[in-house]
């Protein structure tokens, strides 16, 4: 008998095609938009994560600045001495430490025949050690590493085309680097980095155009108490460090902080009193991005859920209208032997079918719509140009749990929205219902 009443519900829905269709659309849009929004959020999230993951997961940035919930690194404060680099390198669980000394450039020159020079404005140049490449996850495409003390540099792939795509710089070429203090250094290119995804680290630190050895390019000095002798040592603004493995990142972070703050470090002396030492880990960056993404995702998902609820209200609305319209029919059915339960089922089936069907079609719509939306986002990112566009498009990343949530919520809303109208129908007094005009 339940099956027969189910068939009756289907028949009724078939008779009210337009009405059923419009109600369905409400649910489809609700379920579909939840899936679309969550998929888009998920896809963008994965994309952004992937952007940051190019930086070593065990890596961290050590600097001075303002701490707190959102640490701000101040790369202008030069505080870390060579002595500090060695001490931090000696801490347990540290794999490598690379200092970063920023060399401000005026321009870059290329000899182009007798007394003829090509000149380009300066680019970012970091003085560091070979360990830097390891921490940045950067690899040489051609050439070798520079040697400390020699006029040798490594350049990025994009910088190799600074004098024109037709005249790419090659390993073995010599360029002239003019520092901001007007001192010009003849430099031999010994290596070119592989083109990589954008290596954003933190703040304004990124993979530089030129990497050079400290000597002879970088010359910021401080006094340092090395042992009992006071001598002049090179000082840097930022250090990059790498833990031995992912499980020791936190320990290393604590140890570095401890070393810097316990009074024995040079940096402790030179640091501005108003600033703190900051150790920013890859994990921290990823977590921050996650937090931001999840706020955005929650917000838009909430909006999508509202549309799902509106779909449910649509069902309730149309079911109430249908029940009222079919009042006399309900009375007739009661007169010929229908029990209240039968009437309840008759209408509950209808809203359940709408909920189910809307859920299923909504999922399909969501899948197709997601592909479309993510593709659109991906194109927009390409059109934006800049760093993100080099990383390729946004991959489609469905979040399965939201498929289930959207479908289940859709169906539950469908059923609950049908309960009140169905109860209204089932509770009718047959005498009154039969008299209804």
């Amino acid at each position: 008998m339940m099956r027969d009443i189910f068939v009756m519900s289907l028949d009724a829905m078939r008779s009210y095609k337009v009405r059923t269709f419009l109600t369905l659309i409400g649910v489809i849009i609700g379920v579909g938009s939840v899936i679309m929004v969550t998929t888009a959020g998920n896809s963008v999230g994965s994309f952004v994560q992937a952007q940051w993951n190019v930086f070593n997961p065990t890596g961290m940035v050590i600097g001075a600045g303002t701490g707190g919930a959102t640490p701000q690194l101040s790369i202008r404060s030069v505080v870390f001495t060579t002595n500090d680099v060695d001490k931090i390198q000696a801490l347990p669980n540290i794999k490598t430490v690379a200092p970063i000394g920023i060399v401000p450039l005026k321009k870059v020159l290329l000899r182009n025949g007798f007394l003829k020079w090509d000149s380009r404005p300066g680019d970012t140049m970091y003085a560091s050690t070979p360990a830097l490449l390891e921490i940045l996850n950067a690899e040489l495409e051609t050439g070798t590493m520079f040697e400390e003390g020699k006029n040798e540099i490594i350049i990025s792939k994009s910088f190799s085309e600074v004098f024109g795509k037709d005249k790419p710089l090659k390993v073995g070429d010599t360029i002239y680097i003019q520092r901001i203090d007007a001192k010009t250094l003849e430099s031999k290119i010994v290596g070119i980095l592989k083109e990589s995804k954008t290596n954003y680290l933190v703040g304004s630190i990124a993979t530089p155009a030129i990497i050079c050895p400290t000597k002879p390019y970088y010359s910021t000095y401080f006094g340092s108490n090395v042992g009992t002798i006071f001598k002049r040592v090179t000082a840097y603004s930022v250090l990059l460090a790498e833990a031995t493995d992912i499980n020791h990142v936190q320990a290393v972070q604590d140890e570095v902080q401890n070393y810097l703050n316990n009074g024995s470090s040079d940096a402790g002396q030179y640091k501005n009193k108003n600033t703190d030492f900051i150790v920013i880990t890859q994990q921290y960056i990823v977590n921050r991005i996650d937090q931001v993404m999840s706020v955005i995702r929650t917000y838009i998902t909430a909006i999508a859920l509202i549309s799902l609820i509106i779909g449910g209200i649509g069902i309730a609305n149309i079911m109430f209208a249908t029940v009222t319209e079919r009042t006399r029919e309900i009375g007739t059915m009661m007169a010929i032997g229908a029990k209240r339960r039968d009437i309840l089922q008759l209408f509950l089936y209808q809203s359940t079918i709408i909920g189910l069907l809307g859920g299923v079609i909504g999922i399909i719509t969501g899948i197709i719509g997601s592909a479309f939306v993510v593709n659109l986002l991906s194109q927009n990112i390409q059109n934006l140009g800049g760093a993100l566009s080099q990383a390729g498009g946004i991959g489609l990343s469905y979040s399965m749990e939201w498929f289930i949530i959207a479908a289940v919520v859709g169906i539950i809303i469908g059923i609950t929205a049908g309960v009140l109208p169905a109860r209204k129908a089932a509770k009718m007094d047959p005498v009154v219902a039969l008299r209804y005009e």
Binding site: S15, T332, M333, I336, G337, V431
Partner: protein
């Protein structure tokens, strides 16, 4: 069957409906309205009873109570030895399905179902299988002469045809009584006559029929005429 005294057995089988001192009071706010006032009425198996009276006389209320759609305020009503005065909604629904066939002025067919499905609808609520329903449906459509219209929806049928489908539906569960509430009210005279003839034919087959109407012309089809006024009954002789 068990042995009973002859008079008791005769009485039990004789009356399809036994109504004793039935009163129905409607209250709205502080106002009380006596729709039925101490009605006593016995209807035998095979009777064709016309219940006549102006609107507001209580004939619809009486019919609703006999048809198990409503309960009396006081008094007792027996339908084929079942006391239906105090049954629950579900029990009443079951008795309606099994023992009462309704014919309405406005036919009250389900517009989304074809004639066949409408006729067999009462069987759905009694749990009849699809095969049973089709068999019974065709049987009854043949009886009312609408076999060729089985797959047509009510909107495709004339008024007379719709009422014949409704009569077929009323017969579906082989009820003890048929309650016809102004069955010709929405039909022209000629079609009305045909419907009445169909009811008379059913009565001749042994069906007990209660006809509720205020059309005096229909009186002649009945073998008993009961007049109602202000909730009280008087029988014409």
């Amino acid at each position: 069957m068990e042995y009973t005294t002859s008079t008791e057995a005769a009485l039990m089988s004789e009356y399809v409906i036994e109504i004793n001192s039935l009163t129905k009071i409607y209250t709205s706010g502080k106002n009380e309205f006596k729709a039925l006032n101490n009605v006593t009425l016995h209807i035998r198996k095979g009777d064709f009873v016309a219940i006549m009276g102006p609107s507001g006389s209580g004939k619809s209320t009486l019919m609703n109570i006999i048809g198990c759609l409503d309960r009396p305020s006081t008094g007792r009503i027996m339908l084929e030895s079942d006391d239906i005065s105090t049954l629950s909604d579900n029990e009443l629904a079951e008795i309606r399905g099994k023992k009462v066939g309704f014919i309405f002025q406005k036919f009250n067919l389900v517009p989304t179902m074809n004639a066949l499905k409408n006729v067999a609808l009462p069987l759905v609520f009694l749990g009849g299988s699809r095969g049973e329903r089709e068999k019974r449906g065709y049987e009854l459509l043949e009886k009312v002469g609408l076999t060729n219209w089985a797959t047509h929806r009510p909107s495709e049928l004339s008024g007379g045809q719709q009422q014949r489908v409704a009569i077929a539906r009323a017969l579906c569960n082989n009820p003890s009584i048929i309650l016809a509430d102004e069955p010709t009210g929405n039909l022209d005279t000629k079609t009305g006559e045909q419907i009445m003839e169909l009811l008379v034919a059913l009565n001749k087959e042994g069906k007990t029929i209660l006809l509720v109407t205020h059309a005096i012309a229909l009186k002649r089809f009945a073998n008993r005429v009961i007049n109602m006024l202000d909730g009280e009954v008087t029988e014409e002789t």
